[in-house]
């Protein structure tokens, strides 16, 4: 039955191809293209005095060496500020090649084009750059002290000061029965896709057209950027995202310097040119995220009701702000989570530092917001001696209170209104799934074998499916094959499967007949991109609408041919049939033939559509005034605002008192992304997100020294967790509260898994050790330091004892 595909956990159609090495990633393209290497800044903050390329120019096989002086027209201008915002008062972006100064280690200064990458690196080594060294600003506290400036004309290092506010926090804090204040930090991490960025460009001088392959999350916008920067008409440029070996946010930023320089050089040299980023380049010249220092004050009543929250956040924005202040906006809005709150003020100071730029990485500011709110809930519970789940419970927005308007503006410039959800039910499910009530018995059993066990939880709400729009195109070919195209890109999420399920369901065709194409401006030129957990919501609904248009046209043609009423027709397995008349059938393939009146026939099938075979009215044109040839449909989905998914994680950790090593004993997730297109894909997204959450909580740091040198810029020392470090089993409970905002009732699922990791694991560690946790991530060496600093008292599980004894007395 084709109609049961939506919601079924079918196996991902793209996996066989990707797993056996038949994927076509960026570096699989253009083996004979010229190779590129860059001279990148070894200093975090410096003026460039001189660039001497004389040692490299005569090397055999070197085709070109470019510096800023070679850039012309729009290429010589700063890179764009992609998302301007009124509060981004001091935006700064770099240049495609450094113009006189550098603001972080890794900034590109010289581009070398040679026969291959090996030669290009040999030549790059022989280029001498003379610098005037300036004191770098590393870390948000140094940025706040402003003893030194990242950009000379911004002495306070503040890129933006964003304030989100409702109610009267000052008065509410004064009046609150209790207040608690604390400061906490969360470290930097990064998207770290296994395939870095990469660009291949080919200029066709005869056609005067440019084809660019980029490992990007937005091919249409890269196309627009290249056209503008290279002064080309956009119709002369096509951009294709091939198989993208992971994105996680870093590839939504564009145009990267290399995305402009590679096609620019290809045109100048009249040769294919390719650059595939290596791992070191990815660490020091792509983007990071997460780094924040949070100063929080909360007011609450005796039962743990949160009355007011005041958060002052220092956000480490790195050296430039090409992607605007999207991350601060998301942190400051999504911090609210699933809770009701009457008085809120959040000030985010976006600080420049002499480090790699900060742009969204899966979760995009939400893990930090969740960390702030969930740790506040834990603090309130501890101060009052209440159960942490109960404090959360009393603060939750109830199921009958949707839509819930927070009276703030979200990252899409639209009101922050939660469309649907059921948070109390979610919390109840989570407690059951993780065994919240039985935990003390488990803790005691672990203690008996000399291990410390702790439990923690964290809840979140995630705004997903932001606009402005996506489109879909569905075409039935005379062969019966159904082509589906959408402009947004894929980086491994399973779009080929999920979109095919939607179209199979809406059109009534076997999924095997469907072929899905994404991220190719030749096939679909209007699109925004893949980010903000938006692909399923945006393109899912767009291809559904396009499929409905095709279905309507197919039924109209079939009704004419079969001489029946449209209402009596249905499409099953790609064949239009008349209800109650098993003999009257017409395959969609035949309708596709008939939909396109022909003069010429090249095969048996097309004869049916030629001018002497058709028995149409002599008085009607072969294609009616309001019709088009072909069985195809195109439509767009543009939401009024974002839809809000939600979830809750709980984790049990075990700490070895001898080695301070942490093991995750249990990880439970309750997840609500509205209607599920494919539960298997959603669970896969959760698994991957949890893995990155664990990475952020226990392993990953960007170890900058005071000089702005990244000391762990390799997979040997940047500890992205292996499969052996992530939970071997993740217990998942689904909850479906359909979104009223879109036809399919779906919400995004891509980022959810990563959001509560640090908050939940911090809570569990705190519970296990009886030591206040105010920084994440934490490895065993840091835990050893914390335990030692706390003295002998920690093993008494101070907080737990307080909590338990008060519960017992209550």
């Amino acid at each position: 039955m084709t109609t049961k595909l939506f919601g079924e956990p079918i196996v991902r159609r793209e996996d066989a191809r990707l797993i056996v090495g038949r994927g076509r990633y960026l570096d699989d393209i253009g083996h004979f293209a010229l190779g590129v290497a860059f001279v990148r800044s070894p200093h975090a903050n410096a003026r460039i005095i001189d660039i001497d390329v004389s040692g490299a120019v005569d090397i055999d096989g070197v085709h070109a060496i470019y510096t800023y002086e070679d850039l012309d027209g729009p290429m010589a201008q700063p890179l764009p500020v992609l998302i301007p915002h009124p509060d981004l008062t001091a935006p700064r972006t770099g240049y495609a090649l450094a113009n006189g100064s550098v603001s972080h280690v890794g900034e590109p200064i010289v581009m070398v084009v040679a026969d291959d990458r090996y030669l290009a690196e040999d030549a790059a080594e022989r280029i001498a750059v003379e610098y005037e060294f300036r004191t770098p600003v590393v870390g948000v506290e140094a940025a706040e002290r402003a003893e030194h400036a990242v950009h000379e004309d911004i002495p306070d290092n503040v890129a933006a000061r964003l304030v989100q506010e409702f109610g009267n926090v000052g008065a509410a804090l004064r009046d609150a029965p209790h207040t608690v204040s604390f400061t906490q930090t969360i470290e930097r991490s990064a998207s770290m896709p296994l395939e870095g960025k990469g660009v291949h460009a080919r200029w066709d001088a005869v056609d005067e057209s440019l084809r660019v392959y980029s490992s990007t999350q937005t091919s249409t916008s890269v196309r627009a950027a290249i056209a503008i920067k290279l002064d080309l008409s956009v119709d002369r440029v096509e951009v294709i995202a091939p198989d993208v070996g992971g994105g996680f946010g870093v590839k939504i930023v564009h145009p990267w310097p290399e995305e402009l320089l590679v096609p620019w050089a290809a045109i100048r040299l009249g040769r294919e040119v390719k650059w595939a980023e290596d791992r070191r380049e990815h660490f020091i010249s792509s983007a990071h995220e997460r780094g924040q220092l949070q100063r929080i004050t909360a007011g609450y009543d005796d039962e743990g009701r949160l009355l007011a929250l005041d958060a002052h956040i220092l956000h480490d924005h790195g050296a430039y702000t090409p992607y605007g202040i999207v991350v601060p906006i998301i942190t400051s809005t999504q911090l609210l989570g699933p809770y009701r709150l009457a008085n809120y003020r959040c000030q985010v100071d976006s600080m420049y530092t002499n480090t790699v730029i900060v742009t969204p990485y899966r979760g995009a500011g939400r893990p930090q917001g969740c960390f702030a709110m969930e740790r506040t809930m834990d603090r309130i519970a501890d101060e009052l001696g209440l159960d942490r789940a109960k404090v959360r419970e009393i603060n939750l927005i109830r199921a009958d209170e949707f839509p819930w308007d927070h009276h703030l503006m979200f990252q899409d410039g639209r009101p922050l209104i939660y469309d649907s959800g059921d948070y109390p039910s979610m919390l109840t499910k989570l407690r059951e799934l993780v065994g919240w009530e039985d935990f003390e018995a488990r803790r005691a059993a672990a203690a008996a074998r000399g291990r410390w066990l702790g439990i923690g939880m964290a809840l979140y709400v995630e705004g997903t499916g932001v606009g402005p729009y996506e489109g879909g195109h569905v075409q039935v070919l005379p062969s019966g094959k159904v082509l589906v195209s959408t402009g947004l890109t894929s980086q491994g999420q399973g779009h080929e499967t999920a979109f095919a399920q939607v179209v199979a369901q809406e059109l009534g065709v076997p999924i095997e007949d469907i072929e899905v194409h994404t991220g190719d401006t030749r096939r679909f030129a209007y699109a925004v991109g893949t980010f903000a957990s938006r692909a399923a919501v945006m393109s899912g609904n767009a291809v559904a609408l396009a499929a409905q248009a095709v279905r309507a046209k197919a039924l109209r043609i079939a009704a004419e041919v079969l001489e029946v009423d449209v209402a009596d027709l249905d499409i099953v397995d790609g064949v239009v049939g008349v209800r109650g008349d098993p003999g009257a059938v017409l395959p969609l393939a035949s309708i596709a033939v008939l939909s396109n009146p022909l003069r010429y026939a090249f095969d048996e099938a097309s004869k049916a559509a030629t001018q002497f075979a058709r028995f149409a009215s002599d008085e009607q044109p072969p294609v009616a005034d309001d019709d088009e040839p072909g069985l195809e449909g195109r439509d767009y989905y543009s939401p009024v605002r974002s839809t809000f998914a939600s979830g809750a994680h709980a984790v049990i950790v075990e700490v070895d008192p001898g080695t301070c090593a942490v093991t995750i004993e249990k990880y439970a997730v309750v997840h609500d992304c509205g209607r599920l297109i494919n539960p298997r894909i959603v669970e896969g997204q959760i698994h991957g997100g949890v893995a990155q959450g664990v990475g952020g909580a226990l392993y990953e740091v960007m170890a900058y020294d005071d000089m702005g040198q990244l000391q762990n810029a390799s997979f040997m020392d940047f500890l992205m967790p292996y499969v052996s470090e992530v939970p071997q089993r993740i217990d998942i409970g689904h909850q479906e509260t359909p979104s009223p905002l879109n036809p399919l009732g779906i919400k995004g699922a891509g980022e959810a898994g990563v959001i509560p990791g640090s908050a939940a694991i911090a809570a569990a560690l705190e519970d296990a050790l009886g030591i206040r946790i105010t920084q994440m991530p934490l490895g065993p060496s840091q835990l050893f330091d914390l335990i030692r600093a706390a003295g002998d008292g920690h093993a008494d599980h101070t907080f737990n004892h307080a909590r338990r004894s008060q519960e017992e007395s209550a």
Binding site: D278, R279, Y699, D717, L719, S724, F784, D785
Partner: protein, 299 residues
């Protein structure tokens, strides 16, 4: 991250290889499994003039057991081969215990045990095992024939051995355990298969009455070379079942002088030395009992 230009030689005999090494001296670098060398090349941290690939030389493979029970591992034996070898395991179970902790399967399939020792990385498992077993490295050179260098004389510092540029390490010999001796190997890495923050290879020897008579330990990632520490003073004469392994761990911690790095502070490393020693010794004592009983039942 592409290697700088380098020459490549693939000699087919040992004589040819030793001739090349004698001729090229410091300009040559031997390529066996390449698991350390190739990343160093790609990061341009080393730039040898010529790689001398020894993979085609016959006679450098193979694992053999000497009459006295030492395990001799040829230069082209991969970690995976040693890991799977039953004769080596029965001769000295410590080898498998340690080899199983070397990196990841893909690296064990390619990397060589002898190369790992020759690399002299104090974070390597097999350097510590060579040290604690009182093993040696057999080196060959064009002019000097072959000679055996004891572990003590072989390791000079981090990534520094007494192997001369004209010499090739053709095999390593891991010494046989003494009678009534058990062993254990424990390490803790940030991620499974990473270089350990600390690792401990230990042996416990019991006397005929089941009392502890000798305790030794060698460590990974703790000092510049894999030193062997005699911890007997803490527990000698104590019955194995109630021996004060905590005291032995504390003694070990007082003998080492580790350095801190990004992943583990010096103090934390010292804590790991104490804890891993204590735990490994308890395991090794149980192993000693089991082996003693096994030996008795064979008589």
């Amino acid at each position: 991250m592409k290697p700088p230009p380098f020459g490549y030689a693939a000699p087919c005999t040992l004589e040819e290889t030793l001739g090349l090494l004698a001729e090229l001296g410091h300009d040559a670098k031997v390529l066996a499994g390449g698991q350390s060398l190739i990343p160093l090349l790609s990061m341009r941290l080393t730039a040898p003039h010529t790689l001398v690939d020894i993979n085609r030389i016959p006679g450098l493979g193979g694992i053999s057991i000497t009459p006295k029970g030492s395990v001799v591992v040829g230069a082209l034996v991969r970690h995976a081969e040693l890991l799977a070898d039953e004769s080596a395991h029965s001769a000295n179970p410590l080898l498998r215990r340690a080899t199983s902790q070397v990196a990841h399967p893909a690296i064990r399939n390619r990397g060589t045990t002898c190369g790992s020792v020759a690399h002299a990385d104090p974070s390597g498992e097999m350097t510590a095992i060579l040290a604690i077993t009182g093993g040696s490295v057999r080196v060959a050179s064009a002019g000097g024939g072959q000679r055996d260098v004891s572990a003590t004389d072989f390791f000079l510092g981090p990534l520094e051995s007494s192997l001369r540029p004209d010499e090739l390490a053709v095999s390593v010999r891991f010494g046989a355990p003494a009678a009534r001796t058990g062993s254990a190997f424990l390490e803790l890495a940030r991620r499974r298969g990473d270089y350990a923050m600390c690792g401990a290879a230990v042996t416990v020897t019991l006397d005929e009455d089941g009392a502890v008579s000798d305790v030794r330990a060698a460590y990974l990632s703790v000092g510049p070379v894999p030193e062997v520490h005699d911890l007997s003073a803490a527990v000698t004469g104590q019955p194995y079942a109630s021996a004060d392994w905590v005291a032995a761990g504390a003694l070990a911690a007082s003998l080492v002088d580790p350095e801190g790095d990004l992943h583990a502070s010096a103090d934390y490393r010292r804590r790991l030395v104490a804890v891993l020693t204590e735990r490994a010794l308890a395991q090794a004592a149980a192993d000693a009992v089991a082996r003693t009983q096994e030996a008795a039942s064979c008589l």
